[in-house]
Amino acid sequence: MTIPDTSEKWASSINEVTIGATAEDGGTRTSTVTLGGAKALPFLSFEGSPGRPTAIAVEIWDGGAEAWPDQLKDAYGDVLSSPGEWAKKAVEFGAEMICLRLMSAHPDAGDRSPEQCAETVKEVLQAVGVPLIVWGCGVDEKDNETLPAVSAAAKGENCLLGTAREKNYRTLVAVCQADKHKLLAESPLDINIAKQVNILCTDAGFPLEDMVVFPTTGALGYGIEYVYSIQERGRLAGLGGDKLLAQPVLCDVGYEAWRAKEAKAPPFACVTDETRNEWGIMWEAATAAVLLQSGVELLVLRHPKAIEYIKQTLARFTQAAPA
């Protein structure tokens, strides 16, 4: 029987954004990552090109990792106090990019100076050849001091710097433009604010085509359905031709999943000593697997086994032939 053609005809596609610069382009990266390009909803190869495969960045901190759950600390061992060594380890575990979070720039968590932060960024750039995401501590005033120093220190490396938010974007937009970095725009689980931040950044002169968006992530069991639907709506609009929603999407999976109590200390009677440490890995991987269905270009992960599982999962979601 002939069945109806169910392919959607999309008017547009998700922007392609490249992070990282090799020597040829004035940087020192040994590899670059290009995100985006999808002309179809996720994993529906019958209706159009899926674009670039979802990239995996691995999160590292410049300090404060003693607060990480034991399962993660055990997986990384003694590198957690050295961002360079940590980054190398993350690349061994499969990181295509490093996501460096400048936690200790936070006034309440070390208040490290912009110069110290810039040194850390250089250390990581020297340690690994993959492209870099650098994430400020989230305190407006401090980010506005730290990120310009970071941007200058990484000039030419074509990093992804974040985050630009509705109330604080001007400084970051200016330095990303001056030093030729890509911009990560954050919005609080609200599709209208997501568009608004993009409008503000473009009004300030930043090209939409050089942005990646972070619509805020929630873990499985902790609001993931809001993230899922906002990303799904955004994806439908972006493919439908809304230029303000055609940016590649980043999901901060590791950070959120490992806050869940099911990940750190599952409160169920069936938990045994053998399975206790599996819960966090499963929570992280399942959060990623769910969000992938809503349209994600860049996943930030933590646990090496979650990285491995998600790489295999991406292959299963995209390969038509049985493995």
């Binding site: 902790y222 599952p266 399975t275 499963m282 697997a289 769910v290």
Partner: protein, 447 residues
């Protein structure tokens, strides 16, 4: 061709009897037209009118009932492709696999294990829905014996999988007679054989193959008056299963193509259990009606059940917690008291941070009808009066000696009037829940 609400209305009794649960016949007609309600809900419809309307007005995706009364599971009759367009209606049944080649004591152990698979999350009890009995033994007698045992021990809905139609028939007409198991023949079987099986057993049938193949099968079974059919991509790659799910859902809802208007069963029970779990989570998001899984371990099962819980919440209806004073950890009269709203995401964000900080706290969830802090404040539902009333109603003054509340930083503006209204000391806490840990450790400790 689908009927409009008015086409249907013309055939209704127009008595506005409300027995269908809707206020008027016109409202009922509109719901039937949009596929949200079936015609069977109208008790006064004449047989003639029913005959005329039935075929044309059936929901684009069939509702299929599996399992024994009084608690069968219903799947299908979905109305949208994206949950934000309305909501997903019938959560997929998670069916845990059992091999019929296990001996009696192993089956008994699995039954005990199955009963223990209960998990409370966000005030809701999550458990697997069904058992999927697989005819690994190849013997009809063995399958029947295992079906008998599982049915009497658990009495949950079941899927039976066998490559022999006789084995399915023996179990479904024998020990499972009247229990409406979903029957999936994984071997060769003609439409006539399957129709005979369905009629004999009074049970739904699952047919597998690519979309064209299953459409043919559904059509053939329909001609033999077998309508309770579930479709499946069968044992195929994850990518193909995902595409099958979307293609069939679109064909049913957008093209109103009846031969694919059936709920879908997917298999996620491969040897790699982690891969199976992650695939199952994706299938739950993308339209599965039954997920056959071997996630017998909590760390594999809970992510699947939580995905189902989250994705099948109604996006139009904020999820609420009971508005009351919660005690987190070993609280004392000196423990801090934090105020938030009864929007479940707000409440659980605060609760998660308090638990992470390992500082026992009281959390007062004020009834804002499930709106968040800022929305509740803007709508005048989270204000000095409602907070004061909640403090009084929960006897908070008897529970803490310090008579101090910590309010979210986003509503700092109400601190003075709340102090006046309640007579309590008011502290302004962090704007985001993530700041609660550091706040309790520094600011609160410094008091």
């Amino acid at each position: 061709m689908a009927l409009t609400g008015l086409d249907i209305y013309k055939q209704l009794p127009k008595e506005n009897c409300k027995e269908c649960g809707l206020p008027t016949c016109l409202a009922f007609a509109m719901k039937v037209a949009s596929g949200q309600v079936g015609l069977e809900e109208c008790p006064r419809l004449t047989d003639d009118a029913r005959g005329e309307l039935d075929e044309a007005s059936a929901p684009p995706q069939r509702l299929v009932t599996i399992g024994p009364d009084p608690d069968p599971v219903q799947i299908g009759q979905e109305t949208v492709l994206f949950r934000h367009d309305e909501k997903f209606h019938h959560p997929p049944a998670v069916a845990l696999t059992v091999s019929d080649s296990l001996d009696e004591s192993a089956l008994g152990d699995l039954c005990t294990e199955f009963k223990a698979l209960e998990f409370t999350r966000v005030g809701e009890t999550l458990r697997p829905t069904m058992v999927a009995l697989i005819n690994d033994s190849g013997s009809a007698d063995t399958m029947s014996a295992a079906a008998q045992m599982l049915h009497s021990a658990l009495s949950v809905p079941m899927v039976l999988l066998s490559d022999k139609i006789d084995a399915l028939s023996a179990a479904a007409t024998g020990p499972l007679s009247g229990a409406r198991p979903l029957l999936m023949c994984t071997g060769e079987a003609s439409a006539d054989d399957l129709a005979a099986l369905a009629k004999q057993a009074g049970a739904p049938i699952c047919v597998a193959g690519d979309a064209e193949t299953v459409a043919d099968r559904v059509e053939a079974l329909g001609k033999l008056e077998v309508k309770d059919v579930v479709i499946s991509p069968g044992r195929t790659s994850t990518a193909e299963a995902l595409q099958f799910l979307t293609q069939t859902r679109r064909a049913a809802l957008k093209s109103k193509f009846r031969p694919l208007g059936c709920p879908v069963l997917v298999l996620a029970d491969g040897d790699d259990k982690v891969a199976g779990m992650l695939d199952a989570c994706a299938f739950v998001c993308k339209y599965a009606g039954v997920v056959v899984s071997n996630a017998w371990d909590g760390h594999l099962l809970v992510p699947i059940l939580t995905t189902r819980q989250n994705i099948y919440t109604d996006p139009q209806k904020p999820v609420q917690v009971e508005p009351k004073l919660y005690e987190i950890g070993e609280v004392t009269p000196q423990s801090p008291l934090l105020v938030t709203t009864n929007f479940s995401l707000s409440y659980y964000s605060v609760e998660a941070e308090v638990e992470t900080a390992r500082i026992p706290c009281y959390i007062l969830a004020v009834d804002t009808e499930g709106t968040s802090v800022l929305t509740g404040w803007a709508a005048d539902k989270f204000n000095p009066e409602t907070i004061t009333n909640a403090l009084t109603a929960n006897n908070a003054g008897d529970k803490v000696e310090h008579h101090t509340v910590i309010i979210p930083g986003h509503v700092a503006v109400i601190s003075a009037s709340l102090a006046e209204e309640s007579g309590w000391k008011v502290l302004v806490g962090p704007k985001e829940a993530t700041g609660i840990g550091p706040y309790l450790k520094s600011d609160w400790n410094a008091l």
